[in-house]
Amino acid sequence: MAFSSYSSSLLLILLMSSLGWLSSPGSAFLTDREHLTSSAIVKPYITECISTNQETFRCWWSQGDFHNLSSPGALQIFYHKKGFGSHWEECPEYIYPNRECFFDRNHTSIWTLYCVELRSQNNITYFNECFNVENIVRPDPPISLNWTLLNVSPSGLSYDVMVNWESPPSADVKAGWMRIEYEMQYREKNSTEWEALEMQPHTKQTIFGLHIGKEYQVHIRCRMPAFIRFGEFSDSIFIQVTEISIKDSTFPLTLVLVFGAVGILILIMLVVVSQQHRFMMILLPPVPAPKIKGIDPEMLKKGKLDELNFILSGGGMGGLPTYAQDFYQDEPWVEFIEVDAEDTDTGEKEDNQGSDTQRLLGLCHPASHHMNTGRSNAVSFPDDDSGRASCYDPDLPEQDTLMLMATLLPGQTEDVEASFNVVERAPAPERGERPLVQTQTGGPQTWVNTDFYAQVSNVMPSGGVVLSPGQQLRIQESTSATEEEMQKKGKSSEDTEDKRQKELQFQMLMVDPEGSGYTTESIARQISTPPAPPMPGEGYQTIQPQPVETKPAAMAEDNQSPYILPDSSQSQFFAPVADYTVVQEVDSQHSLLLKPPARQSPPPCMPQHPLKALPAMPMGYITPDLLGNLAP
């Protein structure tokens, strides 16, 4: 059953299609004619049926190749409204010159299926077509097209145009009988392709971006919305806008200004970039770094003290130039503090220990030079990036200055007298390593006071304070090498502890009768070469409380024994100790090893040290235990 019904429906389809082909070979005007096969003889056919207003419609026919049927009346059109009876009627109105059949309002039904046929006199049907009238509506084109200029772009190159028109009069849009939408197309006059704008139902539309000077062609066509057939195109209108004078336009002016500003900016940028260094110098002057001419800072970092000493002493090619005191006289910014060897120095900013003490005690030889401790920094020729204190006194004689410089740095173990060749020191805060100066120029044993601080040597039971005297120059022993090491290590006390284990076991505190109570390690070593059990002795070694990077205070407090480790041989030893003794290192027992003084020449001024006899008294510190010993 299913198969039979299926086959029957298939047959039905085939029948219908064949019927269509047979009865109406040319029934193609509702769709495109493209599928029409071109046969040898063209039969008469209905060209098209069109309605413009959905109220009437017309059909045109053609006789094709059958020229014998070209006479009027040879071909007839019959129509038939489906659903209203199967009665065929002839065309209500013929217009033979046009080969047209016109259906007026009385004969036109919308939403009704019409079938029209083209028949000859002999009832041969050449053509058949069925349609609904609303589907064959092709509205008339709009009328009264005109355009107005909307605006011109600031550049003066393009403009916008508004095109207006009216709906076709045949289409009764106002009554709502038909809805119409418009499609506008435009093109440049010499172009072949049209530009189509979007369909819309209003009777005006804007075209954007037309170019000045070009001529444009515009036309419009209509159709009913949701239907597929368009009407004919309207007559074209031409749009052209010639060059507009832009005297009012400020566009070029603004453009020029903008470009000019941009150009100037670029120029300034170039200038700045090319002169970058100079600008940077002006705006951000470089901060001078501490520097000594001829000495590479890297050397200091790496601790090549030998070379440093060499350089500082003036040896070698890279020797530092001798100090030129004239140099300074030209520099107004260098403050020179006059140091009078004879007079007591009143201009010093800092304590001048020895001189003050001696002056106080009235013991000292007045021939002492004072140096401002502020000049502990190495004196060097003026540098551009020198940041040192300007405190060199140019009035001093050179040798004096040399001597002064020699004693500049606390703990310096050099014979100032012999240090004429050497002018500069490295600005090491702890010590300036001077190369060995052997020569004794034989200058007077001047008393160079390097007591920058008045050091309290002891506290009297009565409440008085004993200050340690100033100190003499010292000659650096031949322990420079070891001192070098020790210096290095002295700076980092804890690190070098292990290394120094084989070194001195003792820390000696020696009383320096004339000095500030410091002694250096070398001297200490001399005093007690064999490692001897610590013994309270006359000598003390004070631990410089100050500018040591390590923490002597802490160390000192921890270890009392180092304070009290004199050797028996100490008693003979009255080596002057600089007020500043650089702590070279801290040995395993947490005692500070100080740098040995330069020379052991007895100072001219040696105040009695009341504490000589006292056992193991630290000069700078009095620990609580010792305090008990002190107090009688």
Binding site: L30, H35, G83, W111
Partner: protein, 233 residues
């Protein structure tokens, strides 16, 4: 732009329609009398606005139905069998309705008759569209767009009917008591064969498209008559 119009129209039409509280079955007119006092929650809408919205609704329905028909034609109907060319056998279900079909006829009928014609048309298509939807759902290869469109159309048709009922009530000041008595127009026979069902559906779609256009035109003519009676010849 069409989409936007559609959405705005849908929103503008459906929303006021849905505000009526007495929304019941398809054909029962909405009872929104203002003399009922406290129960009254109908916002009043001017007749003109209502007519505008009904017209927009009808326009949309026509547009969507045309799209559906085109889709269907493309997919299922061979070229030779397209309805425009060969109308053998398949007629529309509403051909028997006493509805004017020419401009001259329409010009002669009254507003009342115009509205009632529209209502008749709308009511006669509600059930066939439901059938069409179920039939299309049986297809294996029916695209979702087609199904969605037909579904949308059948829903909006119901809204349109409600709008027209209210319009009749407002314009003609008459209540409508009768429901859809035209049920008999559509006979749902036994399940047809596949090919026949395709043709049937195609016919349904084409006919509905035609009738939707008719509804739209009638309503627009009515509007013209309301606003400018002299020029709406």
């Amino acid at each position: 732009m069409n989409r936007m119009n559609k959405m705005t129209v849908m929103q503008s039409v459906v929303w006021p329609l849905l505000l009526w509280p007495c929304l019941q079955t398809v054909s029962i007119p909405l009872d929104c009398r203002e003399d009922q006092g406290g129960l009254n929650s109908c916002p009043s809408i001017s007749q003109e606005k209502l007519l505008d919205r009904v017209i927009q609704h009808a326009e949309l329905i026509y547009r969507v139905s045309e799209e559906s028909c085109s889709l269907f034609e493309e997919m299922f109907i061979p070229f030779e069998l397209q309805l425009q060319r060969n109308q053998a056998g398949y007629a529309c279900i509403t051909k028997a309705l006493p509805i004017p079909s020419s401009r001259s006829e329409i010009q002669q009928i009254s507003d009342k008759w115009l509205l009632h014609s529209v209502l008749m048309l709308v009511q006669s298509w509600i059930e066939p569209l439901v059938y069409l939807q179920t039939s299309l759902n049986l297809y294996d290869v029916a695209p979702d767009t087609l199904l969605n469109k037909t579904k949308w159309v059948s829903e909006k048709l119901i809204s349109l009917e409600q709008g027209v009922v209210v319009l009749i009530k407002k314009m003609l000041a008459e209540g409508l008591l009768t429901t859809n008595s035209e049920q008999g127009l559509f006979h749902n026979d036994a399940q047809p064969e596949m090919l026949e069902s395709v043709m049937r559906d195609y016919t349904l779609l084409s006919c509905f498209k035609k009738d939707a256009h008719k509804m739209e035109t009638f309503l627009k003519l009515l509007k013209c008559r309301q606003t400018d009676i002299y020029n709406c010849a």
